[in-house]
């Protein structure tokens, strides 16, 4: 094609804040997040849907941002790894990854954190088998997965204990 394609104006919500950006139709959401919005937490591993390093949540569902076009984000609600910690500090899943040494090189970690948070919100008390099956779209070349699974199980315990506490406090 000789004429350059016009950039498209997109309005979306990222980690609770309204965000606008311009992108070409062929730009992936991963490129937009990293290069345009400076949210470099999501990583490019394979760029073809296999590794999960680029995982973000769109409208409550984990997706590979390398397989979403930036223009598809119009009107969506996006959560990235940058939105997991809050003003009080790290999220229990993040703490448990640190305490449990669930990472080595760390390139897979943001994707695992995002998927694990989605998993524990949806299926608190998930069995080891469920955790392994539901996180099969996240690959790790370093840890051998056991420490990741244990960190997620520990975070699950802490999260359910804190909801139990808040119930008894009521």
């Amino acid at each position: 094609m000789t004429t350059a394609t016009k950039k498209i104006h997109v309005t979306t919500t990222v980690n609770g804040e309204s965000v606008e950006f311009l992108c070409e139709p062929r730009n992936s959401l991963l490129e937009v997040l990293r290069d345009t919005l400076g949210l470099t937490g999501c990583k490019e591993g394979c760029n073809n849907g296999n590794c999960g390093a680029c995982t973000v949540i769109i409208n409550k569902r984990p997706v590979n941002s390398c397989l979403v076009l930036g223009v598809e984000a119009e009107g969506a609600e996006i959560e990235t790894v940058e939105g997991i910690a809050d003003a009080r500090g790290l999220h229990p899943i993040q703490d448990c990854f640190l305490e449990g040494a669930a990472l080595q090189c760390g390139i897979c970690t943001p994707g695992f954190l995002v998927s694990a948070k989605a998993l524990l919100e949806k299926k608190p008390g998930a069995s080891e088998e469920t955790i392994r099956f539901d996180l099969s779209g996240n690959l790790c070349r370093c840890t051998g997965y056991d420490k990741i699974v244990r960190a997620i199980q520990e975070a699950d315990k802490q999260l359910s204990a804190s909801t139990d506490d808040s119930k008894t406090n009521d």
């Binding site: 094609m1 498209i8 997706v63 590979n64 979403v68 076009l69 539901d134 996180l135 779209g137």
Partner: protein, 289 residues
């Protein structure tokens, strides 16, 4: 990736005009889990990508005991297996949508996309054939219906002509005496392409014999296959291991598998027999439940 334009029409009419105007230069985008990879890797090209997810008819999903299931072509896999009512009725469809890629893929990948991509190893296609599904297609010349068993024309080739697209998949209603299952063999536990995939559907009569059956096979020919003779053989028979084994032998006779890194032709043929028996056993248990 080569530059392209993007459009997200909100009506079937607008989508049809765009697709007709751009002909073979237009590519449909549903969940994007095949097409974005193919465009990026230069396996396919597009002047314009037409996102069909904003068209209400393509995201609709409804069941009635009279007309059966209307499954909008763009409905994502997770919306199918997470819907307990639907998953209970259409076991084979739930089985297949639950193993496509991982969770991230299932959040986006659609059954319409899996069908239209026409991979010989696509997981939902044997499930759809076993369930006797049809594709409801629309195009510049109006609407038509294509049986899923006749939809694939070769690896990556389907029966659609320029300007046409799949609006919905329709599957006959299911009653309590029917059951279906899909299983594939892969060397890993998850996230791999089927070495062989088999879908089975059976209907039991009032005394518990097989009133009707449909078997279908994936990854053993250029397109997913309906195993007609093996299906017919089961009609009127008692649903037992011996008859399942005989049906499995008949199914093995129609396959023309290739030998590749995932398995030899001989191994694939053997797997057809194993999976026909296993899926029939699961389908039977579901029909009896």
């Amino acid at each position: 990736m080569k530059d392209f334009q993007y459009a997200a029409p909100t009506t079937i009419q607008d989508a049809t005009s765009l697709l007709t105007e751009h002909g073979s230069g237009a590519r449909i985008l549903a969940g994007g889990t095949d097409i974005i990879v193919q465009l990026r890797e230069g396996l396919r090209e597009a002047d314009i990508v037409v996102d069909i997810k904003k068209i209400p008819e393509l995201s609709d999903c409804q069941y009635s005991d009279v007309s059966g299931l209307y499954l909008g072509a763009a409905v994502a896999c997770c919306d199918i297996y997470e819907n307990a009512d639907l998953a209970g009725r259409y076991g084979a469809l739930a089985d297949s949508t639950h193993i496509i890629g991982g969770w991230q893929i299932q959040s986006r990948a659609s059954v319409g996309g899996n069908l239209c991509n026409a991979s010989p190893a696509a997981d939902t296609i044997p499930a759809l054939i076993a369930l006797n599904a049809e594709a409801q297609v629309t195009g510049p010349a109006g609407q038509r219906t294509i049986a899923v068993a006749a939809f694939c024309k070769g690896p990556g080739k389907n029966a659609l002509v320029d300007g046409e697209f799949v609006v919905a998949i329709k599957i006959p209603p299911q009653s309590a005496n029917m059951g279906s299952a899909y299983q594939r063999f892969i060397p890993r536990n998850e996230m791999d392409i089927a070495v062989v995939g088999v879908g089975s559907w059976i209907e039991l009569d009032t005394v518990g014999n097989i009133a009707n059956a449909r078997l279908s096979l994936g990854a053993v020919a250029a397109t997913p296959l309906f195993a007609e003779e093996a299906s017919q053989f089961l009609v009127g028979k008692e649903p037992n291991d011996d008859n399942f084994a005989l049906a499995a032998e008949l199914a093995k006779q129609i396959v023309t598998p290739i030998t590749d890194m995932r398995g030899t032709a001989q191994y694939r043929t053997h797997l057809v027999g194993v999976l026909v028996k296993r899926t029939l056993t699961t389908a039977l248990a579901r029909a009896q439940a």
